[in-house]
Chain length 222, copies 8
Amino acid sequence: MTDVSGYATLDLERTRRRGYPEAVYCAGKSPAQVAGIAAALRERADLVTLFTRADAAHAEAILTALPDAHHDPIARLLVWPPTPPDPAGGPVVVLAAGTSDLPVAREAMLTARYLGRDTELIVDVGVAGLHRVLSHLDLIRRARAIVVAAGMDGALPGVVAGLVAAPVVAVPTSVGYGAAFEGLAALLTMLNACAPGVAVVNIDNGYGAGHLAAQIAAPVPQ
Amino acid sequence: MTDVSGYATLDLERTRRRGYPEAVYCAGKSPAQVAGIAAALRERADLVTLFTRADAAHAEAILTALPDAHHDPIARLLVWPPTPPDPAGGPVVVLAAGTSDLPVAREAMLTARYLGRDTELIVDVGVAGLHRVLSHLDLIRRARAIVVAAGMDGALPGVVAGLVAAPVVAVPTSVGYGAAFEGLAALLTMLNACAPGVAVVNIDNGYGAGHLAAQIAAPVPQ
Amino acid sequence: MTDVSGYATLDLERTRRRGYPEAVYCAGKSPAQVAGIAAALRERADLVTLFTRADAAHAEAILTALPDAHHDPIARLLVWPPTPPDPAGGPVVVLAAGTSDLPVAREAMLTARYLGRDTELIVDVGVAGLHRVLSHLDLIRRARAIVVAAGMDGALPGVVAGLVAAPVVAVPTSVGYGAAFEGLAALLTMLNACAPGVAVVNIDNGYGAGHLAAQIAAPVPQ
Amino acid sequence: MTDVSGYATLDLERTRRRGYPEAVYCAGKSPAQVAGIAAALRERADLVTLFTRADAAHAEAILTALPDAHHDPIARLLVWPPTPPDPAGGPVVVLAAGTSDLPVAREAMLTARYLGRDTELIVDVGVAGLHRVLSHLDLIRRARAIVVAAGMDGALPGVVAGLVAAPVVAVPTSVGYGAAFEGLAALLTMLNACAPGVAVVNIDNGYGAGHLAAQIAAPVPQ
Amino acid sequence: MTDVSGYATLDLERTRRRGYPEAVYCAGKSPAQVAGIAAALRERADLVTLFTRADAAHAEAILTALPDAHHDPIARLLVWPPTPPDPAGGPVVVLAAGTSDLPVAREAMLTARYLGRDTELIVDVGVAGLHRVLSHLDLIRRARAIVVAAGMDGALPGVVAGLVAAPVVAVPTSVGYGAAFEGLAALLTMLNACAPGVAVVNIDNGYGAGHLAAQIAAPVPQ
Amino acid sequence: MTDVSGYATLDLERTRRRGYPEAVYCAGKSPAQVAGIAAALRERADLVTLFTRADAAHAEAILTALPDAHHDPIARLLVWPPTPPDPAGGPVVVLAAGTSDLPVAREAMLTARYLGRDTELIVDVGVAGLHRVLSHLDLIRRARAIVVAAGMDGALPGVVAGLVAAPVVAVPTSVGYGAAFEGLAALLTMLNACAPGVAVVNIDNGYGAGHLAAQIAAPVPQ
Amino acid sequence: MTDVSGYATLDLERTRRRGYPEAVYCAGKSPAQVAGIAAALRERADLVTLFTRADAAHAEAILTALPDAHHDPIARLLVWPPTPPDPAGGPVVVLAAGTSDLPVAREAMLTARYLGRDTELIVDVGVAGLHRVLSHLDLIRRARAIVVAAGMDGALPGVVAGLVAAPVVAVPTSVGYGAAFEGLAALLTMLNACAPGVAVVNIDNGYGAGHLAAQIAAPVPQ
Amino acid sequence: MTDVSGYATLDLERTRRRGYPEAVYCAGKSPAQVAGIAAALRERADLVTLFTRADAAHAEAILTALPDAHHDPIARLLVWPPTPPDPAGGPVVVLAAGTSDLPVAREAMLTARYLGRDTELIVDVGVAGLHRVLSHLDLIRRARAIVVAAGMDGALPGVVAGLVAAPVVAVPTSVGYGAAFEGLAALLTMLNACAPGVAVVNIDNGYGAGHLAAQIAAPVPQ
């Protein structure tokens, strides 16, 4: 463990222990705190670190300390070192029900890619027009794990799970208004999906969905 | 208006005023009170009256006063006089996502029939197996109004609405457990349906759904 | 289907399939994304497209691509091509309980008009002064479908439904404060309306209400 | 203060201090505990005591100790001594929106009567048929305080308040199902009533409503 | 009724009908709309009108049309004509549990005063220091109606009601944080007050509380 | 650790580790499972074990295995061995706001006593009659820790905390109805208590409150 | 598809399509309906069918039609044919935080076993005594998928996920009382688990958890 | 009591009565009001006063009146006089589960210190990496009272309570997103902690947690 200026305790052995990178949750931390953490990581290029929920000020602070970090502003994600590992395990397919679900879907896709999986992203295939998702069925059925991000009624993961054999990681998004209640409606829909095979993560938690999908699709230890 | 023993005020002119039968909501009334209302109606065979949410004791009390009333125990519904009117207007198709949604779906179907519509009932066509609902699409597309009863994730009405031109009356049911929250999850799903054309009524309100569908499919006044 | 720059999949055959225009939900999309969609539509003047929940930046982006689009800033709605179709089917009457409900009511009215119905709008007729709504009863009773937008206690749709034979599409609005809970109180009131014949849509969903009313009042196929 | 067997502390001076009777809330107390309290009151016929929410076992226990107590099983209320005081102050009118609201409405009416007011009870006048409540307007307008008990949409108190000058005490009832959420929907409606002049008490709290109405309509001290 | 530019219907006969002034709820209306209403009132100085929930832009718009209107920025209230009527009926005492509850308490006090009552205001007397409220007991006991505004735990109204004979109008405020849930905690506390005699209005509804208190303390018609 | 028939793992070293007895939560366990655990404890009279939330069947099963266990049916508690330890540390005073809160208050008192504290119990001292709690102030002020059980508005702990220097452990109870929401209202009140010094435990958790009070009032290690 | 007496549509091709057995959700179906479904399956011993949430009456009805079905009353599960398939894929480890979580944990374990996985069950290892779960760490780390059933605070899955590389399927249970809100507290805890790698299913949904774990641990297609 | 300009009533005798300083809750007060209170305190350096939830404008206003007040911007706290008392009683240890919980943890630590306790602060020891909290166990076990601030799943207090004999004061924080519901998830987790010995305060209420811990760890009166 590495102590950072009295406000954070980095768990640098986590990669060894669990086999997956560390992630720094930026929301609620000041840019200065995030910069301090980034600086502490500079000597450890053997470790992959994701910075999640990074706003513009966080990103600027991180890029000052780690100038070559990969930054995806839509997904609010930075990763250092910037090159993802060579893919291993099975493919992860990420679906976004609508265009507005794209930030969450990209966060999931990038997380899975930096955890070492091959990924594909399919956008704007909500249940209001079933033919859209059905037209991608071949690609979806090749996945070892599927992530589905959906807001509003959150019905897409249950429909997809009824069509495939692989596990579906459902991410409710806060897209919608009124009785969407900031993603609560989609969350409840997914928890009650009639088709078995749907695993749910927190609202807007693209990072968690991508992480889980990468674990599911990990190479099987011999 | 007819006053019944100080506990009810019958609105016998409602049929004339709105063109639809009166309904007596039995829950919360004692069997004796319901019997009193039934007896007061005996002289008015020109009026159709539905008794909704009637348990066994209510039904027995009503049948004592109106022995030839039609009784559907699954739908917890009694109607007097027992013969439905000749159908007019467009057809109403009622879908039940699962077998457990049948009581609500039957209540909707019978209400629409006693309000004067032709009705069809399709059971066990939830989104976990899309081919089931797709196999009935021709029949569903002939409807002037569609009622869809669904519990758990409540996803069926939105999927159906994306496939047809007629309005879909969605009835969330209390079928499910845990995060279904007695029908709340299905209710929220339906309110947030991505496809336009979904009208929502109260949880388990088969009567209201059937009534609304009958109004939508009513003969257009010339 | 038309793919737009990897972030949207337009369903241009929807008009043919369902008989109603496509709608682009602008909230959660960037102005650049909305502009891309608008540009993709420029060659298809045979299709009516509504842009809903468009803020000022969305509107500017759309008007750059489609300069003659109709823009109603109160309803946050743009439509292209700008001329509504000739009216067909029955009339739709829209009521706003209070002045603050006007944006939602206008969105409903314009949607119904661009879907091909004759529309009327009546404002500020809440239940605190019953004589206000009663004075419009003749007009309301001529409607084939009625939309009622109301916030706060949301009591108006139930009162109206008790006075007419046509279906009432109730839209709860987020008008109010405290225990109005952003429209939740009005939503629950409408779902529990004592009078049958009330269909409920999502909070502030004027578009959905107008669409549903237009479907209900559509010309009956021969 | 009088101590009863270590489980209750009677506040026998309350009548003197506040000018109103003591009430014993029976729910959650055992019949034996209630009997003990009743026995302790036997010597104090100068004090009026109400026993509220008394089920059959409570009632039997109380009647053993105070055989001439007045018992209204519908309202689940017992009062001793049994004769109400001579009326003073202004009249209290109690409305029940539906027959199922009668237990709560009777509890309110009896409480107001035993606190010394003249009372009237009007039943089954919900907003689904406005003419019903309008036909009683003269009587309602003579009240110094009005109690309105309503479940489901809870819309009646707001409509009444818009028609009269006297304060309206609104009691939501747990009548209804589904999204009525055991009276929550009616409670929210009443808190958001568009017409000012609506005071709300707890769900099913007929006792509190009657007490409040009696205080409002109390003789004005000279 | 007077129609204002298609967005409002003024109910100018309300004073005659109910005996109380009209109120214009400014939130959700544009300054231009409020100005239009103010201008329409200019010719009717025989009517008292309150403008509630008026922010700075609303106030400026109103004062342009009615320059001598009384404006209380803390209470966000304007009144025209500016001089309150001569007091009649019984006194109304308003309590604010804490300094932060002052805006709501002032709105209640001013409303009651402009509806024709004598008023007193007592501030910062929460239950954390009981001696503070007990030191004002003589003044509080002289009231014909008492308004208590309290946020956080909302316990003050129940404590006061246990000490007096007059009705207590409880106004929960949104003061607090965390599990105060924007006033919901205080609202529930007040609805469950152990002492009878507590009437509850909407969260932050100082206007409604003052109106109700003024009705309760109104001169009794002979 | 001791394994019981594959359904429980007893943590018999807990007394040594934490210094407090083990507790067996009976709800959700079958009487046979509870009996098995009781039998496994028979050889370990050096350990105090509490059986909480034991219904009649649980109690019978436990008493068969441990016939001399102490059983308090009101508190639904059994303890073995039956003799409490000699008191040490400071006194714990337990208050029950109403008679209906007695089961929870007794559970707290007995837990504290079997954890080795002197205890006192005061009943029926709710805030509706402040003089009742004020009359016990001397006793309450002698406590090193105070437990206050209250349902309905849950206001008593905050009032007590404003009068004393010792910490107050507040236990919301499910006593009440309607908007008490099974103890939720009291819980929120206590979390928002204006006076500092209020610690809250779960609804109806008398065991947890007594345990916490015993820890607070524990003898200070030298 | 096979139609059963108008109340169910069996999807007998599902095993072929998705590779997993069909499940019949018994709750909400009458014993007669369940018996009808069981009888329809009798000729198809090539298909594995699970009957979930079967109470005693359901079980009796099923066993009449399929006398050799495997019945686990604790898990409320029946399976036919009764012999599970030979294990394939990786091992699934199921943890129950407490004894009361056993029914849900057994349902998960049996589902995974009948879907073809090797399974292990570990009971009573909640976070209140960390050493209990740490003592099983070797076994847990051998799993390809882990199911953790926990009620009350639901903290166990997050703690386990921080210790292992395999995905954790978290099942909140309705064990607990008060602010456990029938499993809602545990559900929220699990959705907010600080450690990534936690997938959540519906409250008490042991079937869904076991199904998902079996999919995750399935043999990787070559 | 000292009256400040009609908007506040200072309870300057509170220190004498309860033995603890007064606190001024700044949120909801204007800077001018807070400045007025600060000025009124200038003559009473014998009293310690905490200003909580002070934003930058509040802080500037206070520092103008009391220039040497201690100001901790992270904790949003000011104290005057600035020097904490000499420590007495037992030590208080404060844990922050993550860096984002630091503001609340610092508010707790500073409050306990200014109430006269020795304090220690440990940061970033959440349950996702158990070894982090276990490495501090010796220090934690020396505490007489422990404060644990945690957001998201809020699991840390229950884990700590299972490892120590001292009471744990749990402060849920609003850190997190989605189904964290602004701290509600952490609050429920803590109320349902499986280990006894957890006392819960309001979300983000570092002041209350520190105050309670200081009371628990106070010197025992002889």
